[in-house]
Structures are given as C-alpha cells and as structure tokens.
C-alpha cells in the first residue's frame, strides 16, 4: 500500500517535473540526509513503544525504525494482579518482539542512556549512537525514591512496589505466599497522578481472593494518600460482597497518608503519627516520567511530559514524540490502553511529518477492566477528542452500579479478551 503510494508520488513528481521547472518540483519533496524516507528511533518496548514501531512500519515500510528495549521479553504490569490472585502465571504477561522484527523493525536490546537533541542522536549504554529524524519515547514511569521518607530502591527489595512487572512482581508474590494465616497485607496507595489508577484496588481484590481461599484469617489494610479512587463505588460494593471485612480502606481524610516507611521493620507511619505494622508491605510510591524523558529535556517541573494533544510531539523539544504513562494527557488515564492509543496517533503523525504532510485528526479511546473476583469484572470506558488544542472526553462512564451477575461475568471475560487483543495489537503475541 505504502510502496505503491511512494511510486505514485514519484511518478507524479516526474510528471510535474516535465510540466514545470524540474528544479522547482524537486524542492517539493522533503529530503533527509540520513535516508530517503527518514529514520525513527523508538525508546521503550511496552504498550506505547511496540505499538508505535508497528504502526509506523505498517504505514510506511520505507521508514527505518529502530526500537530500543533492554528486555528480550517484555512483561506487562496489567494482568499481574491476576497472578497475585492465582488466576494466571507470571509468564502469561510476557511478550517478545518477533512480529516487529518481521515487519522490518530493528529491535536493539540495550538501554537508551542519552539524547543529543541538537545532533539528533540517541546514545545507548552499550556504546552505540543512533541518529534519528524523529524520536519517540515511551519510557513509562520511574519512582521518586525518598519522596516518601525511607522508601528508596533498597527498601523496595523488602517492601516491594511491584508497580513495574518483573523481579518486583515475583518478590511480592513470594511474600504473599509466605505470609502466615492471620497476617496483614498492607498497601500504601499514592496520590494522583500515578500509573494505572484502578490498579491498586484491583490488586487488593486479587490479593483478597487469594487470602480468602488460602489464609482466611488474614486482613488487608489500604492506607491511601487520597480520598477517592477510580471505580470506587463498584470496587467497594464488590469488596463487601466477596470479602466482607477482610479489606479496610483508610482515605487521606482519616489519616490514610503515609509519610514514613521503615522497610526493615515492615512498618509505616501516617501523617498524624500512627504506626501500622505489616506482614507484607506493598508500597506504591510517588512517580514521574521515565528517566530518558528527563535526560531528553522533555519533562517540566511536574516531572511529567507536556505534549501537543494532536500529535503527542513534545511541547518543549521538536521532533521528539512522547506517549504513555510519562505524558500529561489528562483526562486520559496512565494506562497501557492509553499508551497504545496515543502511540497510533503519534505513529501516524510521525509518518505524515516525515512526508511533509499535515497530521491526521486525533481520536483516542480507553477501556480499563478490573477484576474483583474470578467471574466479576468492572470497567471504565471513554473516548477522547481534541478541542482547542486539549484532550477532552467525548463520552464515557463506568459499569452500571445495578448490573446483574451476567453483566459482571461478561466484563470479566471481556477483560481477558481485551488483554489478548491489545497484546496482539502491540506485540503481535498470543496472550
């Protein structure tokens, strides 16, 4: 498709060349010193990066696309909660990059450590330097170590966040399995904004499912730095129904904000000085855009990345596009779904921009499914469009409060089907 279009354009330019001054016609085609169709470097192989690389290649295979991702198998954070619930294996969240390679994407397993925005190059930890015409960053999140006193990387080995999938996920799962019946699973939930707004509450649901069937005398305590959370009414109704008083949620206004973590003693201290002791301590700390965004100079004082809503090009540095959790894209949530949706808009914008064409009208969707019990799913869904240069919600809402069990079961099934679809759409893998 794109090849024939390229050919048509060349034919057309030739025709124009004959009809007018040949020199003038040649001026019309955008040219790149580094390659005929342009070079794109994509940093990050998650939902955003993998999708962007795929959709750039699908639109114009002549563009050289290099994807930088340290992991040979990328493990998604979405659906790891079902692993804690004992409903999935860890490996089921793993995705490779074979489809991207088959599309002609140059997949480099290395770590992007520097960006020279003047020379337009990306440097890798392995020593390579890659030139780009357009750079797309999908770096996800990093943690603000010590923003929560006592919680740094060393502390996270004892009190895991498990908010990036991998070793952290396994540590939390092992701790949960080793926890005695009658123990306390304590979650420290962050203030907004953070990756995956319903995630902490789905995790608690899945941990509760595991405890109910394996360690029924145990308790879950959520200490929350906010007073409201995503799909709150639906979660709380589901908790009441399935887990009774196993789960206790303490909001900000009831001294839920944790200000100090003592990982060695598995204890935390709240704003008003109450000490809570845990058997398993899951701290989801304050977050910011992944490090490479800061290195590239695309973050602002908030630590996140302001972007142009129409294209997801950085507001601060031209020819750098940023998608996913790292961006300021509210009202879109920081979700894998949003990253995938933004990546397709950015991919189209990059292809258009390299060809000297205007960008397409952007449109986005997001659906986040959460599982409260094995056959009991809930969702929040929305579409987004651009108005006056800003992303606005065009439609949306959460599952009805009065839905019957058939509806909840269907949403549980659709949650799994969604994961299969987005895994296929992003990495081309069967999940």
């Amino acid at each position: 498709m794109s090849q024939s279009r390229q050919f048509s354009r060349r034919q057309w330019l030739t025709t124009v060349g004959k009809a007018t001054a040949a020199g003038a016609a040649l001026m019309l085609a955008p040219t790149y010193a580094r390659g005929a169709a342009g070079k794109v470097v994509v940093v990050g192989g998650g939902f955003g990066g993998a999708t962007a690389a795929k959709y750039i290649k699908r639109r114009n295979p002549a563009i050289e696309v290099t994807l930088i991702e340290p992991a040979k198998t990328y493990y998604t954070c979405p659906f790891t909660n079902l692993y804690f619930g004992g409903l999935r294996t860890f490996e089921q969240q793993g995705h490779g990059f074979d489809e991207l390679r088959s599309l002609g994407v140059n997949v480099v397993h290395d770590f992007a450590s520097g960006v020279d925005t003047g020379a337009k190059t990306v440097s890798l930890a392995g020593g390579q330097t890659l030139p780009y015409d357009r750079l797309l960053l999908s770096p996800g999140i990093d943690f603000r170590w010590n923003a929560l006193e006592g919680y740094d990387e060393a502390a996270s080995k004892l009190a895991p966040h498990a908010w990036k999938a991998g070793e952290q996920t396994r540590i939390l799962k092992q701790q949960l399995e080793a926890m005695p019946d009658g123990g306390t699973f304590l979650m420290v939930a962050p203030a907004n904004p953070f990756r995956c707004p319903p995630g902490p509450y789905e995790r608690v649901s899945m941990v509760a499912h595991y405890l109910k069937h394996n360690k029924p005398k145990s308790k879950i305590l959520i200490l929350d730095a906010k007073d409201a959370f995503s799909k709150q009414g639906l979660f709380q109704a589901g908790w009441d129904r399935f887990y009774g008083d196993l789960i206790e949620w303490v909001p900000l206004s009831k001294d839920g904000k944790v200000v100090r973590v003592d990982a060695a003693n598995l204890s935390v201290e709240t704003e008003f000085g109450e000490i809570h002791k845990a058997d398993v301590l899951n701290v989801i700390p304050p977050q910011k855009a992944g490090a490479i965004a800061e290195i590239a100079g695309v973050t602002n004082e908030s630590g996140w990345v302001p972007v142009k809503a129409l294209t997801f090009e950085s507001e601060l540095v031209s020819d750098i596009y940023v998608v996913g959790d790292a961006t300021i894209a509210s009202p879109m949530p920081k979700s894998g779904f949003s990253a995938n949706a933004q990546a397709k808009v950015a991919a189209a914008a990059i292809v258009s921009s390299l060809a000297g064409n205007p960008p397409a009208i952007a449109s986005f969707a997001n659906t986040c499914y959460s599982l409260i019990a094995p056959d009991y799913g809930i969702s929040v869904a929305a579409t987004y469009q651009i108005e006056d240069g800003k992303i606005v919600e065009a439609s949306g809402g959460v599952s009805p409060a009065d839905a019957d069990d058939t509806f909840r079961k269907l949403e549980a099934e659709y949650g799994v089907a969604w994961y299969q679809a987005i895994a296929q759409d992003s990495w081309g893998t069967r999940a």
Partner: protein, 131 residues
C-alpha cells in the same frame, strides 16, 4: 513555496493529474513543507480513527479473543450496530460499547463502518486474495 502551490493548483491540467494520481488532498500534503501553515491543519484519516478500535477488537478489527471481530462485516450492519450502541436504548447485553459509541459522530460511524467492511475477515484470506 506557497505561491508555487497556488500557481500549481490553478493549473487545471495539473489538477487533473493530481486527482488521478493521488487526490487533491494528497497534492496539498505533498506541496506543504513542514513548518508551513498548511501543515498544521489536521486532515481526516479513517485509519487513525479506526486504530482506536484495535485495542479491543484486534489489529485491523480481527479479534484474537471473545470480543467480536469487526473486519469484513457488511457496512450496513456495522453502521446499524454502532448507531444502536449510540442510541439511548442499546441492544441487550451491551457492556462498554454504548459508553464508547456515544462519543462518535454520525460521520465517524459511517467512516468506521466503511473502513472495517473493506478489510478482509482474516489476514490469510487477504494473502490468498493477493495471489
């Protein structure tokens, strides 16, 4: 550059060539260098609109799971279904599609119905068709 574009567009013969080869919109695109005002005006692209469906319905609308595939279904049915989701009385068993379709204009619904109806149901069928 802009003057040149205007001159070219005024030339009827060239316009004809442009229409047959690429279409008038693409001609404008090809002429607009990055940085010109014309390059900032977004254009409608059904593929960008449709890509938002793939997150759940699979790439090109071919679903790998229990969410229905939408590739290669008749245009009239897709249109009717989306309009039903958008209405205040969505079909029984609707879960998220009413919440999503409410945000679509009638023109977007038409474009999506046309787009997915023109994609073959399976990628292998597409390959066979090409041979």
């Amino acid at each position: 550059m802009r003057y040149l574009a205007t001159t070219l567009l005024k030339n009827e013969k060239l316009m004809h060539i442009a229409r047959t080869a690429l279409g008038a919109a693409a001609l404008l695109g090809a002429l607009a260098a990055p940085g010109l005002a014309a390059a900032d005006q977004p254009i409608f692209d059904a593929k960008v609109l449709a890509a938002a469906c793939a997150n759940c319905h699979g790439t090109d609308g071919r679903s790998p799971g229990s969410i229905p595939s939408i590739a290669g279904r008749p245009e009239a049915i897709l249109k009717q279904q989306l309009q039903a989701f958008k209405s205040d009385t969505p079909p029984a068993g609707t879960t998220v599609m009413n919440r999503l379709a409410k945000g679509l204009s009638d023109q977007q619904i038409d474009a999506l119905a046309q787009h997915f109806s023109q994609i073959s149901r399976s990628s292998s069928a597409q390959e066979v068709a090409k041979q």
